[in-house]
Amino acid sequence: MRAERARLAGAVLLALGALAAVAVWGGASLRAPADFSFCNQAEISSLDPASITGVPEARIVQALFEGLTRQDPVTAEALPGMASRWTVSEDGLSVRFDVRSDSLWTDGTPVTAHDVAYTLRRVLHPSTAAPNAPMLWCLKGAFAYGHAAAPDAGALGVEALSDTELVLSLERPTPALPAILALPFACTVQRACVERWGRQWIAPEHLVTNGPFRLVERRVRDRLRLQRFDGYWGRDEVALASIDAWAADSGTTQVNLYLTGSADWVVRPPSGLYGALLGRPDCLRGPQCGLTFLRYNHERSPFSDPSVRLALLLALDRESIARDVVRGGETAADTFVPRGMSGYEPPLWPSFDPARARDLLAEAGFPGGAGFPVFELLHPQLQTARDLCESLAAQWRERLGVRCRLVAQPWKVFLDSQTRGAYDVSWSVWTADYVAPEAFLDIFASESGNNRSHFADATYDALLGLAAGAPDPAERARLQARAEQRLVDACVLAPIFQRANVNLVAPTVRGFHDNLLDVHPLRDLSVVAEDAP
C-alpha cells in the first residue's frame, strides 16, 4: 500500500514538474498595459517596407519608419516627413527634396539623403522583388533598372546631392509622387543595417528604424509592442508613449477586446454585429476610396455582349443592396472612380431600370431570360461577399429570369481563378493606395495584370497614356473622364457600391479622423482620461 502511495505521489510530482517546465518554456509573462492598444486585424507578413502590401503591415511600418513624405491624418494627403519641403521643376520632370538633418536612426546616427536614395534604389532593384515597385516606375530609368540583369544605378533618376539634398528625375510629370512616397513601401531604411545583416536585418535584435516609434517586442500572431522614439524629428507631436498592436484575426474576438477595454480601436467589426454596433456614438463611419463591383469575363459568351452586361447591371437595385444587404454606411455606386477626388468629375453609370434591362436582354436574344445559360458567380469565402452575391442572384432571377450558381472559393484560390479568367461573373473589390483617378482607371488598361476581365480597348489605353503625360491637372482630369466614359459606354464592369469605413474608436482617443483612405497614423493619436471633455 505504501509503495502504491509513493508511486502515486511520484506520478503527481512528475506531472507537476512537467507542467512547470512547460510553463517556463511557454514563456508566460506578465506585462503592463500600453497607453494605446488596437486590433491590427491580422499578423503582419513582414516589417520590411519593400516587401509589404497589406493594410495591417502598413499601420506598423508607418509607425516604425518614415519616408520623404507621410500621410495627413485628416485628409490622407502627403505631408512633409523626412523631407521638410520639396520643389517641382517647371516642366514637372524633376523634384528636389530637402531632407531633415534633425532626425536620427534608432542606433543614434543621423538619417541622410543617401539613406533615402539607397531605399528607392533598393525598392526598384530586381533582387528585392518589391511588389509595389511599379508605383515608382515614374522615376527616370526605373523600369529598365528593375528589369535588367545587371542594374545600373547611374542611369536611375535618383541622386543624393548631399546629406540633405535629394533630386528625383521623372519619366513624366507625376502629381501623385508625394502621395506615392508617403506609402509604406517607400519608407526609408538604413543602408548600413540592411547591408550588414542581409535578410536578417529585420530581426528585432538588428532592426534600426527612423519613425515615431521603435519596436520593443514582437510575438508572432500575438502582439507587437511599440515605444515612442525620442530621436524622431517630430517627437513633440507624438503623444503616445507605448502602443500594443493585437494580431487577433477573429472579428468577434476583436470586438470582445474592445468592449472589455483591452483595445481602443477596432477596424471594421464583423457585419454580423452591425445591429448592435452601428448605432453607438463610438462607431465612426464614412466614405472610403474603394469600390465593390462585378467583373464580367469578356471572353465568355454571352458576357462578351455589351447589351447583356448592361442588362445585368440595370436589373440591380444598388440602393437597396447598400441599405439592406451591406448596411455599413456604403452608398450605391453610380461611378467607377469613387466620388470625393478633388478636380475629377467621374461620368455617371446608368441607374436601376428593370424594364430597360428586360428589353436589352430580349434584344440580345434572351426574352424573359429564355435560353440564357446558367452562369457562375464567383466570390471568395467571405460572409459579406456571400450575402451580396445571394442578393444579386435573387434580383437577376426575379427581374430577368436568369439563373446563376454561386461559387465560393478560399481567397488565394479565388484570386487564381480570377487571374486565369476561370469565371463568368466575379465579385471584386478595389481600394486605392492614394487618392487619384489613375489608381482606379489603370486596372482596366489592356496590359494591366489587374484587368482580369480580358477587356482591351486601344482608345482607352491611349487616353490613359495621354492623361499620364499631361502636365495640366485639368487637362489630365478631362482625359481621364473621357477614358472612364469608354468603360461606361461598353459597360465593362458593374459598379455595386462605394465602400465605407467602419471603425470602433474609444471615446478617450483623440486625433482619429475619418478619411477616404481609412488611414490613421499612430503618431497622431492620443488618449485622454475617461472624464476629459
Binding site: A15, V22, R31, S45, W246, L259
Partner: protein, 305 residues
C-alpha cells in the same frame, strides 16, 4: 522491450516520411500561390520572388532540397510571415500550444475522473444522472459554443478573466477550460463504464470480503483497471487537444500552432503547412507510443514487448 521500442520508432520514421511526401504533393497541387494578392504582381517581380523562395525549380528538385533541409533540421522560410523561418514560428507557437494542451488535459483528467468515479459510486442516483447528463452535453457542444458561453459568463458578466490574449495566468483559465471540458466529458463516461464493469469482478468481491473500505476498493483496486480504456483514449486525445485547439486559439487570440494548421494552407504557405503537419505527426506517434507503454505499466497482464 528495447526491440519493440526500436521497431515502433522505425515505423514512426517511415510514417513521418510518407506523411511528408504526401503532404508536399498535396500542398503543392493546391490552386493559388503564396504570392497571389488582390493587386497583381509584375511578371518579372513574381519570377524574382519565386526564385528568392526557391519555388522556381522543378517540383522533384524542390522536394529533394526540402527533404535534405529537413534532415538538417531546416524547415525553410515561411512564405506568409516572411521575417521568420518555419523553425522560429514552430519554436514560438509549439510551447504555447503545449502549455494550453497540458492544462486542458489536466482539467480533462481531474474533472473527468472525479465525475466518472462519483457517478459510478452513486450509480442510479441523481448524482449519476446529473453527471452523465452533463457529460453528454459536454460531448455534444462544439468548443466554440462552450468558449462563447465561458466568455459571456466569466468575462462580460462577472468580469473575472480576460476575454483574450496570452501571457498572464488569468489568460490561461478560459481557453484551458474551453479546450479541456469536452474531453473531461468523454473521460467521465469511459471511467464510469470501466468502474462499473470492474465492480462486478470476483477479485473486487474478495477485497470487499476482506473488509476494505468502498473508497479503498474504488481507488486502490478498481480504478487501476478501469483506467485502461481512459489511457487508450488519452493518448490520441492529447494529440487531438493539441491539433484541435484551432477554434479555441482563434476565439481567445492565442498564438499557438492550431491556427497555423489551417491558415497556412489557406495562405499557400507551403513550408509552414508542412512544418505543422510534421510536428503533429510526430506528436500523434509519440502520444500513441506513450499510451501503449502506460498500458503495460497499469496492467501487468499486458506485455508491450
Amino acid at each position: 522491450m528495447t526491440r519493440w521500442l526500436l521497431s515502433r520508432l522505425l515505423w514512426a520514421a517511415v510514417i513521418l516520411f510518407a506523411v511528408v511526401t504526401l503532404s508536399f504533393v498535396l500542398v503543392r497541387s493546391l490552386p493559388g500561390g503564396p504570392f497571389d494578392e488582390s493587386r497583381a504582381l509584375d511578371p518579372v517581380i513574381r519570377a524574382n520572388l519565386m526564385a528568392a523562395y526557391d519555388l522556381a525549380a522543378p517540383l522533384p528538385e524542390q522536394y529533394a532540397r526540402y527533404v535534405g533541409g529537413l534532415l538538417h533540421g531546416n524547415f525553410g522560410p515561411s512564405l506568409r510571415y516572411r521575417d521568420y523561418s518555419v523553425g522560429q514560428i514552430l519554436a514560438e507557437s509549439l510551447p504555447i500550444s503545449a502549455l494550453l494542451g497540458a492544462l486542458a488535459l489536466l482539467i480533462a483528467l481531474a474533472v473527468g475522473l472525479t465525475a466518472g468515479a462519483l457517478a459510478a459510486a452513486r450509480r442510479g442516483s441523481w448524482i449519476d444522472t446529473g453527471v452523465m447528463g452533463a457529460a453528454t452535453l459536454g460531448i455534444a457542444l462544439p468548443n466554440f459554443v462552450l468558449a462563447g458561453v465561458l466568455v459571456l459568463l466569466f468575462s462580460f458578466h462577472w468580469r473575472l478573466f480576460p476575454v483574450a490574449g496570452w501571457g498572464s495566468p488569468a489568460q490561461l483559465v478560459l481557453p484551458s477550460l474551453a479546450l479541456g471540458l469536452p474531453f473531461a466529458a468523454s473521460i467521465a463516461r469511459l471511467f464510469r463504464a470501466g468502474l462499473l464493469e470492474t465492480f462486478g469482478e470476483d477479485w473486487i468481491r474478495t477485497a470487499r470480503a476482506k473488509g476494505r473500505s468502498p473508497s479503498g476498493i474504488l481507488w486502490g483496486h478498481a480504478a487501476r483497471v478501469a483506467l485502461l480504456p481512459v489511457v487508450s483514449y488519452v493518448g490520441p486525445a492529447a494529440a487531438g487537444i493539441l491539433s484541435g485547439s484551432l477554434v479555441v486559439e482563434r476565439v481567445f487570440a492565442i498564438s499557438g500552432m492550431g491556427s497555423h494548421f489551417v491558415d497556412s494552407a489557406f495562405n499557400a504557405d507551403y513550408n509552414l503547412a508542412l512544418g505543422v503537419v510534421i510536428v503533429y505527426t510526430a506528436l500523434v506517434s509519440g502520444f500513441n507510443l506513450l499510451a501503449d507503454l502506460a498500458y503495460g505499466l497499469l496492467d501487468p497482464r499486458i506485455e508491450v514487448a
